[in-house]
Symmetry: C2
Subunit: 260 residues, 2 copies
C-alpha cells in the first residue's frame, strides 16, 4: 500500500460529542466519526489522523486542523466531498490540501486562536448550545485589564487541568482581549442577545486552559479576584484554582496556523 498525507480543516459543533479524541469509553467523538469516514473512502483499516489539539466534550471548532494519512490518492476537492458525504451534519470538512509525511500538526503550528462567548443575560432557546450564561454583573474594564496580564510568556500551571501530561506548563500568549458584541442578525439567531467574546491567540494551550482563564476573568469581573492576585497566579503555583472551569458550550477553536 502507498500512503498519502492530507491536511484537513474541520468545522464541528461539539455538543453531541465527547470531544475530539477517540476514547475507550462509550460515546461518539469527532475523531471517531472522521476515522469511520476515512476507512470508508479508503476501503482500508490502515488510516491515521492527528489533530492540532484535542478539544474537550462539548467544545466547538470553526477551524480545527487534522493531518490524515490514508492509502488513497485523491484530489483535495474530491476528498472534501467524499468525507462530507459520510460525516454527520455537525462535522464538516471545509478545506483540504496535500501535506508532507514529515509534517506534524501539533509541533509545527505557529499559533492557535480560541474564542469564548458568554452573556450575562438569560440565554434564549436558540443559544444555550453556543454560549455560556454567567448571571452576575461584571466589570468589563477590569476584565479587559486582566486580559492584558495574560499576554506574554507565563507558567500556566494554575490554568491547567491536572492529570494531563505535558513537558512544560509554560505557554506564550500573543493576543488576548474581550470583545463586546451587539445583537447580531435575526432576532432568533444564536447570538441574538448582547454578549461578550474572549479572544485569545497563543503558541499553544494546556488542557482546559482557555476555560480556566475565562473562569478567572469572571471572578475578576465580580470583584472576587484582584488583578494583583491574577498577576501572582501567573508567577507562583497556587494551592487552589482562582476560578471555575467555564462551561464547554461557549468555547470555539477558531484557527490554527502553520508556516506558509
Amino acid at each position: 500500500l502507498s500512503f498519502f498525507n492530507y491536511l484537513l480543516t474541520i468545522q464541528y459543533k461539539g455538543t453531541a460529542y465527547l470531544g475530539w479524541q477517540v476514547q475507550e469509553k462509550q460515546g461518539k467523538t469527532v475523531q471517531g466519526e472522521l476515522n469511520k469516514a476515512l476507512r470508508k473512502i479508503s476501503k482500508s483499516e490502515e488510516i491515521n489522523s492527528i489533530a492540532s489539539g484535542r478539544t474537550d466534550a462539548g467544545v466547538h471548532a470553526f477551524g480545527q486542523k487534522c493531518k490524515v494519512r490514508i492509502p488513497l490518492e485523491i484530489p483535495a476537492v474530491n476528498l472534501i466531498k467524499a468525507l462530507n458525504s459520510f460525516l454527520p451534519d455537525d462535522i464538516r470538512i471545509i478545506e483540504a490540501e496535500n501535506c508532507e509525511e514529515a509534517f506534524h500538526p501539533i509541533r509545527d503550528s505557529l499559533w492557535k486562536e480560541y474564542w469564548y462567548c458568554f452573556s450575562t443575560e438569560e440565554s434564549g432557546a436558540m443559544s444555550h448550545e453556543w454560549m455560556a450564561h454567567y448571571s452576575f454583573e461584571l466589570d468589563f474594564d477590569q476584565m479587559q485589564k486582566a486580559c492584558q496580564l495574560f499576554v506574554g510568556s507565563h507558567d500556566f500551571c494554575n490554568f491547567f487541568c491536572v492529570g494531563s501530561e505535558t513537558a512544560t506548563t509554560i505557554r506564550e500568549i500573543f493576543e488576548c482581549e474581550l470583545i463586546q458584541q451587539k445583537q447580531q442578525g435575526q432576532p432568533f439567531a444564536q447570538f441574538s442577545s448582547d454578549h461578550w467574546c474572549f479572544r485569545v491567540r497563543g503558541s499553544g494551550f494546556l488542557k482546559q486552559m482557555v476555560r480556566l482563564m475565562v473562569g478567572v476573568l469572571w471572578e475578576v469581573g465580580r470583584g472576587k479576584v484582584t488583578l494583583e492576585q491574577l498577576s501572582d497566579a501567573l508567577i507562583n503555583p497556587c494551592p487552589n484554582k482562582l476560578g471555575a472551569v467555564a462551561p464547554a458550550c461557549g468555547l470555539y477553536l477558531y484557527k490554527v496556523t502553520y508556516p506558509a
Copy 2:
C-alpha cells in the same frame, strides 16, 4: 379549585421535538414538556394549554403564543422563572401575562408571521439545524415576483398537507417577501454564510402551508414553475403539488399578535 389563565410567549428550538402537539406516539413534544412543567408548578393534573397553532416536527419558534389554564395564582415574572426552571434549555418562556378565560389563542389572533431561512451554499457544521440548503442556482428576482402573487385572499388548497381538518382552505396573506441576508456576526455563527429569508405574514396558515410556499418558490427560482402556473395554482385545485415541502429546519414561527 380556582383556575387562572395566562398567555405565554414561548421560544423553542424544534430540532429535538416531534412538534408542538402532544402525541400518542412515543417521543418528545414541546407541549408535552410545557404540560409537565405546568403540572409541577401547579402540583395538579388539572392543567390545560392551547397554542396559537401547531408547529411541525423540527420547526422552531421565536414567539409562539400559548394560553394556559392552571389552578395557581402567581405573578407573571414568577411564572416565567418557575416554568423555565423545569423546562429543558431548548424551550424558554420569554413573556407571560394574565388573560381572560374567554380568550382563545387561535380564534383571536390578528396575524401570524413565519420566517423561512435557506442558503444555496453548503451549510457548515453550525447551521444545519437552523436553515435549509437548496443546492440549485436560483433567480431571486423571479422569486420576489412570485412572493407578490401570494399576497391577498386565496384558496390555498394546493399549499396544504392533505389529511388535516379545516373548515376552509381560504387564507389571507398580508405581506410576503424574500430578504437577502449577508453573512452575520461571528464567522462560526449559525447564519455565517450569505442566505435568504422568506418572510410571510397572514391571517392564518394551513398545515405545511409555509413550507409548500417555499417549495414552489424554489421551483420558480429554478425555472421549473412559471409565474402563470403559480397564479393558476392560487385559483384552481391542481392534481399534483407544484413543489416539495421544504425541510422543517428552516422554518420559524416568528410572531403572533392579538388585539391590544
